[in-house]
């Protein structure tokens, strides 16, 4: 799982599995670093759970689980960055991950697909994405879309096509010529 966009997907799925209704994800790129912050209003964790969650194979789920956060933390630390988590039971969780740009920093990968499938596969949740690179910002907010298309669903064909094209345009604007790296 060595792509920043897949880390965003893993964090957002943690939020979904915690019963979040709104997930906000921010990706900020500077010449020196990439910072990813995912904030949710899910069921949160106690102080003890928060400590365990990042450090061990701690999991509250079935199966061979508990690898997500440790994996992301290790990837961030390998670049000289790190992961911090703050959470309050019944309130929500915020995970911030900082990568230093160097040979160890994973590529962004296909962030557009991550945003699109989250919006479509969790149509009962809302997502707000903000990506910033050197002063250029793109936003994507499912609440804005749903307001415009009701009673049609966000998963319907026309909307899903619109989302794909919108995201392609926006990330091309943000990343310029390097858009190939991050689009479908």
């Amino acid at each position: 799982m060595n792509e920043l966009s897949l880390f965003v997907l893993e964090l957002a799925e943690n939020s979904a599995e915690a019963g979040a209704l709104l997930v906000k994800a921010e990706v900020r790129l500077t010449p020196e670093s990439v910072e990813i912050t995912v904030t949710d209003d899910g069921k949160g964790m106690t102080a003890e759970q928060s400590r365990d969650a990042v450090n061990t194979d701690y999991t509250t789920k079935l199966g061979r689980r508990g690898r997500g956060l440790p994996l992301i933390k290790a990837a961030a630390e390998k670049t000289g960055g790190g992961l911090s988590l703050s959470s309050r039971a019944k309130k929500g969780t915020r995970v911030s991950v900082r990568f230093i740009k160097n040979e160890y920093c994973p590529p962004m990968g296909d962030i557009n697909s991550v945003i699109r499938i989250l919006a479509i596969c969790h149509s009962d949740m809302d997502f707000r994405f903000e990506i910033e690179q050197s002063g250029k910002i793109m936003t994507f907010d499912t609440r804005v879309i749903k307001e415009r298309i009701a009673p049609a669903k966000i998963s319907c064909g026309g909307v899903s096509a619109w989302i794909r094209e919108y995201l392609n345009e926006q990330t091309e604007f943000i990343f310029g010529g390097a858009a190939n790296e991050i689009t479908c």
């Binding site: 599995e17 689980r65 479509i120 319907c156």
Partner: protein, 122 residues
């Protein structure tokens, strides 16, 4: 530039279709495992292939959703297809190409792709 006004146009179009079709009750569900194992094995690409193929064919009665772990780590990506009134089918070791074929055969032609199912000997 994509505009929000276009979304309103899509809504008008969809509203007409909804009126023609009534509520479509026989919703087919496709669930793809999006736990860590699934993500590592390529679930993102598989979901994209499902969504793109449905969009391309104009199929509107199929919902693609994410599911957690069903304890089949070494068989991820996993996709569970449920057609109302039929037994659910678990497809394993999915790829984007297989996803396209599942839409073609299982969803459109109503024939399970046996060779992609769990337990099939290939």
């Amino acid at each position: 530039m994509k505009s929000l006004a276009e979304l309103q146009a899509i809504r008008e179009k969809t509203r007409l279709q909804l009126n023609l079709r009534h509520e479509s009750p026989d919703n087919v569900s496709i669930k793809v495992g999006l736990a860590t194992c699934g993500i590592e094995a390529g679930a993102r690409e598989v979901i994209c292939a499902f969504v793109d193929e449905l969009e391309k064919r104009g199929i509107e009665n199929v919902t693609v959703t994410a599911m957690g772990c069903i304890d089949k780590c070494d068989k991820e990506p996993v996709a569970v297809v449920e057609v109302p009134g039929e037994e659910k089918v678990t497809y394993v070791n999915m790829t984007p190409e297989k996803a396209v074929r599942v839409i073609e055969e299982h969803i459109v032609n109503k024939k399970v792709v046996a060779e992609y199912t769990d337990g099939a000997t290939v």
